[in-house]
Amino acid sequence: MRHIISVLMENEPGALSRVVGLFSQRHYNIDSLTVAPTEDQSLSRLTLTTTGDEARIEQITKHLNKLIDVVRLVDLTEGAHIERELMLIKIKAVGSQRSEIKRTVDIFRGQVVDLSSTVFTVQLTGAGDKLDAFIAALGENVVLEVARTGVSGISRGEKTLSL
């Protein structure tokens, strides 16, 4: 099963490599990874998605917790949560295709953030499967380049991941 794990860690050099190294060292996989400092400059928040059965996810969270740089973590998929990913995508758009593509972008509530005579650059936000669906709707032969941020997430309600 797919899990989204958010980690608060010391915003220090080497902290990220310890987390990433742990995954390769212990044969865990990372499907996506996103990391940036938080409102507290001494902390970074890292969110990763991984897959595995319950025993594997338990080992992953235990080993992450053992890392000295890891301050706190949460498996967001254990409860109600919001999941978002940002995608920037370049789409070939010429002639009659242009209005068709614009309609598709509107249906998915994307925004055209740049354009030339032959290319639309579109920004789209949502859960990963929405981004996948958008690419599928366009068809492969018009997609020129895709830049996705990887999943970020936060729990619903009053629960927070903070110090």
């Binding site: 860690m9 010391e10 050099p13 080497g14 490599s17 310890r18 190294g21 060292q25 025993a55 338990e58 080992q59 235990k62 080993h63 917790n65 053992k66 000295i68 740089d69 890891v70 301050v71 706190r72 110090l163």
Partner: protein, 575 residues
């Protein structure tokens, strides 16, 4: 406040931390530190002859004393040579602080002379690591490093220090922090009382109980508690290779070591038990025999460990208890001491009768060979007799290690010093140096094989410099014995690159070349007299080269892919 350079701060901080001895080897990036060392006499520095030996010596010191071992090496090759020793300590959870020099801060990343990314290289084999950026950070980093290395589940910590940070021309006010709190690091102490009660209830209801303990009991100073609890319950107990000495081997409740080369009775009792209390051990594949689905099929598993990640890693625990060994065991003792708490006496009697029948197999019985040929097991028994079981015994890795573990009979914790997790050949000799430095008046014995010994023989020089009277007992079978045994058993006797009889040195002359004493024992009649002669030379290092039967195998041996009850008992007998 004193104004000190980074180099001076480092040495002062080590002293303030209570460090008396460090093992190291100088080089360019640590010259400022070595100059600071030279100008003080509070911290003793031991000059080894190879950085790997520095780490193993510090490791042996830590295992024998319980205090963190400290290593000082230079950048680049100094640091990479230390890596095997760091990995060895990591796998066995040994407290160690390794200080490595680094090129100047401004040179980092330029492929400078003797530059290597030590923090990166050591990352998977350390509990934590630090790169020091400013001299004023040194006291806090040292304090944190020792706290992390020694607390919780111990482990090695690397401190990488660029040369400019120790520059004698830059001084800063020095103050050693008294206390330390790391917001992301907390150490479990007491276990959960509800869980402990649940575990005790399971133990008291058991029909066929078994206690299985590992290195964690020794690290957690829980041996006395373990002995008290085990005696109170009257249950059988086994120790892992790492846990030998936590419970007295000479006691009748002790079934011997378990696992791949464990005793028949220990492995049978494990397989057939209905409640298993595991303390400070990790269900390693050398214990469970790889296929955990066949492990202890009828047992309710109670697992006590200070590291939550060790619990349910390979074998799922029915009652997990995260906590330090000693307080958890104390709580268990208090519970079983209550007047209404009784074990099932009748069931236990039946269980012991079953165990005694397994014991009658005498799986470790030594059948003397003819014509004066010395069996390796007999050597260990003789060493035990002569040292009265009181020695600190280190070993290398291979057949001799298993013979020492099976036949020395450790009655006290910290006496058995071996590389269990990583299985590092070359560990034993420098580790014996560390144990001797930790206990100058004790007998420090290194049981080794000629293969392992050749991996760190250069430490003969260190032992001469510091007059270390180590007794090296080399079980010389003129082959890489354990490799050869596997080749005999699984590869049709094809001894691929495991023999080298024609090129072995004369070990007695080698020892003498360094100014030590060398004794060779080739005939069984000489075994006791010559060993006694060796141990009588109290202030000398003696290398005892014992020519043993080259065809001897280590038994019992687990059958690959089987359960714990499946063992090869001799060249002709299986379970």
């Amino acid at each position: 406040m004193d104004q000190l350079s980074g180099g001076e701060m480092l040495i002062r901080a080590l002293h303030d931390e209570g460090v008396e001895i460090i093992f190291g080897y100088p080089g360019g990036a640590v010259l400022h530190i070595y100059d600071a060392l030279f100008q003080q006499d509070r911290v003793e520095h031991i000059l080894v002859r190879h950085e790997q030996a520095a780490t193993h010596a510090a490791d042996g010191y830590a295992r024998a004393t319980g205090k963190a071992g400290v290593v000082l090496v230079t950048s680049g090759p100094g640091a990479t040579n230390a890596v095997t020793g760091i990995a060895t300590a990591y796998m066995d959870s040994i407290p160690m602080v390794v200080i490595s020099g680094q090129v100047d801060s401004k040179m980092i990343g330029t492929d400078g002379f003797q530059e290597t990314d030590m923090v990166g290289i050591s990352r998977p084999i350390v509990k934590h690591s630090f790169m020091v950026r400013k001299p004023e950070d040194i006291p806090l980093v040292v304090k944190k490093a020792f706290h992390i290395a020694e607390s919780g589940r111990p482990g090695p910590v690397v401190i990488d220090i660029p040369k400019d940070v120790t520059d004698p021309g830059i001084t800063r006010p020095y103050k050693y922090p008294e206390d330390i709190k790391i917001r992301s690091y907390s150490v479990p102490t007491k276990g959960h009382s509800g869980q402990i009660k649940k575990a005790v209830d399971a133990l008291l209801a058991a029909k066929r109980p078994m206690i299985y303990t590992g290195g964690g009991v020794i690290q957690g100073e829980g041996s006395e508690h373990l002995t008290e609890l085990t005696k109170k319950l009257g249950f059988p107990i086994t120790n892992t290779l790492m846990g030998l000495g936590a419970y007295p081997a000479s006691d009748k409740q002790f079934l011997g070591m378990l696992g791949m080369h464990g005793t028949y009775e220990a492995n049978m009792a494990m397989h057939h038990c209905d409640v298993l209390l595991c303390i400070g051990a990790r269900f390693d594949d050398r214990v469970t025999n790889s296929d955990t689905s066949k492990f202890c099929p009828d047992a309710t598993i109670l697992h006590v460990d200070i590291d939550p990640a060790a619990i349910s890693k390979t074998v799922t625990a029915d009652v997990p208890i995260v906590g330090a060994v000693a307080p958890v065991l104390q709580e268990m003792i208090d519970l079983v001491s209550q007047p209404d708490k009784n074990v099932d006496k009748q069931a236990l009697e039946n269980w012991w009768a079953q165990i005694e029948s397994w014991r009658q197999k005498e799986c470790l019985k030594v059948v003397p060979s003819k014509e004066g040929i010395i069996l390796p097991q007999e050597v260990i028994q003789a060493v035990h007799d002569i040292t009265e079981g009181e020695a600190y015994v280190s070993s290398d890795v291979g057949q001799h290690q298993m013979f020492a573990a099976q036949y020395y009979g450790f009655d006290k914790p910290r006496r058995w010093i071996n590389s269990g997790g990583l299985g590092t050949m070359g560990f034993g000799f420098p580790a014996a140096m560390g144990a001797q430095f930790g206990h100058p008046d004790a007998i420090s014995v290194c049981v080794t094989g000629e293969g392992s010994f050749l991996m760190n023989q250069q430490e003969f020089a260190t032992c001469m410099q510091y007059r270390l009277p180590i007794k090296i007992i080399c079980l010389n079978n003129q082959a890489l014995g354990m490799v050869k045994q596997w080749q005999d058993m699984q590869y049709g006797g094809r001894h691929s690159h495991s023999t080298y009889a024609e090129s072995l040195p004369d070990f007695t002359k080698l020892a003498e070349a360094y100014g030590h004493v060398g004794i060779q024992i080739a005939n069984k009649d000489e075994l006791y007299p010559k060993l006694e002669e060796a141990f009588a030379l109290k202030d000398k290092l003696v290398f005892v080269d014992v020519l043993v039967d080259p065809n001897e195998h280590v038994y019992p041996m687990a059958i690959k892919g089987g359960s714990m009850k499946d063992m090869v008992l001799s060249k002709t007998e299986r379970t």
